[in-house]
């Protein structure tokens, strides 16, 4: 009897999590991973630190090699194999192999983990000194470029958290960095107080931010590296190097062509078992939308940590299991130079956009006793005036700010009210915290308003 075959399209976070989990569930399953690139299972979130040099070798970012998966987990990883079509009726994937050959591959179950692609296409992106922030091969080329060509100036297109992390990385190498961004808010959904603080820190490290300056063209002499970026402030920025960090959109072309339904956000719609609307086909990671437990609807929030969780659920279910992924509360942590930032749930503006009558309060507390290096800790909380329910929380500061978001994320998951936070039993000792945690102080202030 032929073994059942699981085919997974995409071999980074979601894809390899799905493959590993499916193997755990079923030792007899045939598992094939089709990866169009040359690497699997790398930590894309570590790329900025490879550029800065903190990560010495690209191999440190590779969690497991393709060889490891083949040998240790009996997963048939095929690198440089691009899926170009799916026929759900025949349960077949069309694949373009490394040598250009087209093959047809049968599947019993299929997991789509096709990831994301740059959101904005900018003319001139094909020039040799233009790098995409999102994959390992591009990062390896970028570091080689920096070490060989010693560029003096860099233009980063996009001010999301990845753009800011690359700004930090390049500035730490002595490169003069300018960020070009369409938006006013920098990271989507970041509260204005934290945006202002981020700008202050960027400026202090010599990074220029041009807002409302969408890049329109990457230009230079015909067939040569780019020398300027034209942007919507009707200006032109001279540069030696361009980073594309405009955010990502879900890669859904394959899915759409196969009749798989997309959601309202434009990403693949999945239920809590990671099933698409087509029988036998699951999806996970940056190509899918995710249930936002605070907003109460689907959202597109591509993140490595979510991709890993979804991939695990998809892999378990593709192998006959019954796992469920409930959704996210919208947690994000990042660091821009010395400034740690943590966000969970909805910002004031997001809450209003989702139809809540939102109250908010911002306070500045302290991270721990001053004699243990305590620093100011900014905390902003957002709540629903109708129900008193916590809707979001953001932290910023130079000491222990980012991970403070975890307690708030749990409170959001549990749908706690602000009143429930007044006396939460969070850890206190001088090396770690003040007697009154910032979150509790913010809750007290909120209660005065409600």
């Amino acid at each position: 009897m032929a073994r059942e075959r699981l085919v997974i399209i995409g071999g980074v976070a979601a894809g390899m999590s799905a493959a590993s989990r499916a193997r755990r569930m079923n030792a007899n399953l045939e598992i094939v991973v089709l990866e169009k690139g040359a690497d699997v299972s790398y930590g894309a979130c570590g790329l900025p630190y490879y550029i800065s040099g903190r990560v010495r070798d690209a191999s440190e970012l590779v969690v497991h090699t393709a060889e490891f998966f083949r040998r240790e987990r009996e997963i048939d990883v095929r690198l440089r194999h691009k899926a170009v079509g799916i026929e759900p009726g025949r349960r077949v994937v069309q694949v373009e192999a490394e040598n250009g050959q087209r093959i047809e591959m049968h599947y019993d179950t299929l997991v789509l983990a096709t990831g994301g692609a740059p959101e904005v296409e900018i003319p001139g992106s094909e020039r040799g000194n233009v790098f995409y922030c999102g994959d390992l091969a591009s990062a390896v080329r970028l570091r080689e470029f920096i070490e060989q060509k010693r560029p003096r100036r860099a233009a980063i297109i996009g001010s999301g958290y990845i753009g800011l992390e690359f700004a930090d990385a390049l500035a730490s190498r002595g490169i003069e960095v300018t960020i070009l961004t369409r938006s006013e808010a920098m990271i989507d959904g970041l509260e204005p107080e934290i945006v202002a603080e981020s700008e202050r820190v960027l400026a202090a490290h010599g990074v220029t931010v041009l807002k409302r300056a969408p890049a329109t063209q990457i230009a230079g002499p015909e067939g040569e590296p780019a020398t300027t970026v034209q942007h919507g402030l009707a200006g032109s920025l001279a540069t030696d190097l361009v980073i594309l960090a405009t955010g990502i959109r879900p890669r859904t072309e394959l899915a759409e062509a196969a009749g798989i339904a997309l959601g309202r956000t434009g990403a693949i719609a999945v239920d809590d078992a990671m099933r698409t609307n087509v029988g036998g086909i699951f999806a996970a990671g940056d190509c899918t939308e995710v249930q936002h437990l605070v907003a109460g609807c689907a959202a597109y929030i591509p993140l490595g940590t979510t991709a890993n969780k979804q991939g695990r659920v998809a892999g378990e279910n593709a192998a006959g299991g019954r796992a469920r992924f409930a959704g996210v509360v919208g947690t994000l942590v990042t660091q821009v130079f010395e400034l740690e930032i943590g966000k969970t749930g909805l910002s004031v503006e997001e809450a209003r956009r989702y139809g809540f009558e939102a109250g908010s309060v911002a306070i500045t507390s302290v991270s721990r006793a001053k004699y243990f290096g305590g620093k100011p800790l900014f905390v902003k909380i957002v709540w629903d005036k109708a129900s008193g329910r916590l809707l979001g929380c953001q932290f910023a500061g130079e000491d222990g700010a980012a991970k403070r978001v975890d307690a708030a994320a749990m409170a959001l998951q549990a749908r706690m009210r602000v009143a429930d936070l007044l006396h939460s039993d969070l850890g206190y000792a001088p090396p770690f915290a003040p007697v009154w945690e910032g979150l509790l102080i913010a809750a007290k202030e909120a209660m005065k308003q409600n």
Copy 2:
């Protein structure tokens, strides 16, 4: 018309929180604080760091001086005034003033914040080189003693977290430290894996721990400083200095004499408004018991952070408000040399003692990316097999272990099940965390057992 008078007995954490909150609530109230010692409102949790020298001056531990409370908050703080009796029928407190004079003071409402006293009385404690770990005056005398007499050896009686923090402080001054303890478990309720790790760290720093060695007598030549501590291992430890850190019991003598009911734990029983059983009398802080939300009953867990919260509630209600303190989940964080420890909820043993059929799982994860200084992170979780509910969580490690307890504390407050933790949306980025937080990995392991 005479102003209403609130009298507060005790001027440290709970007492001064109550006084300040009552003043905020009612500008006209007369507020008198009777403090038997010479200081108010100091951070007792900072005392070990004053001994180590990290806190340079004792004044840094004083949040506000008596003078500040008098001037800025119109609170009549009377130092060196000892309450010696309460007559609830006449609403009168008997006070022994600084000069030995007895006065009677009328109250309309009364808050008892009498704190705790050393749990164990050991003969010989009155000798000049014996110091109590719990108050500022004793800590000031201790540091003077260390700086003037340069003791070579110290005996610490008790291995709770305060004993361990003092061991760290004294060892950092080059003093050879021996801890004498009755118990096997060191800190009450600490899981054995963390006890073992603490012992390893203490030994690495030259601290000796003698277990099952309760101190029975502090001895020395008549009228001279102590030279030995006799202990239950039938031994005698030579020392130049003794620290009493045997844990504290609630100071309830005044309350008992006034007919105020104690709870099952031996501390003053209060409801969630901090009311005692006697009309007009509230209590807060280390003299009271507290509702343990996980155990579902009262417990005695004296902690500064709880005292502050309870004090605030007592003060608000004593001034006519309607605040409530729901209780604690048993969170404790501490640091022993480089080892950070965090505990929340119940240990396996505590859970069984409270009647749960407890499951547990221990794993070792990592605090963050290795290239950001990540270190092993030990996580143990405890759950109720009948309901799947999380009952407790402990963390230990050298990097970011202690405050990771906060997310678990929120989960306990919300009565979450282990299954709810599988996909919790905790913050991930290489400078701060691994893709899978230790808590989530532990939850996954737990689900395999359940």
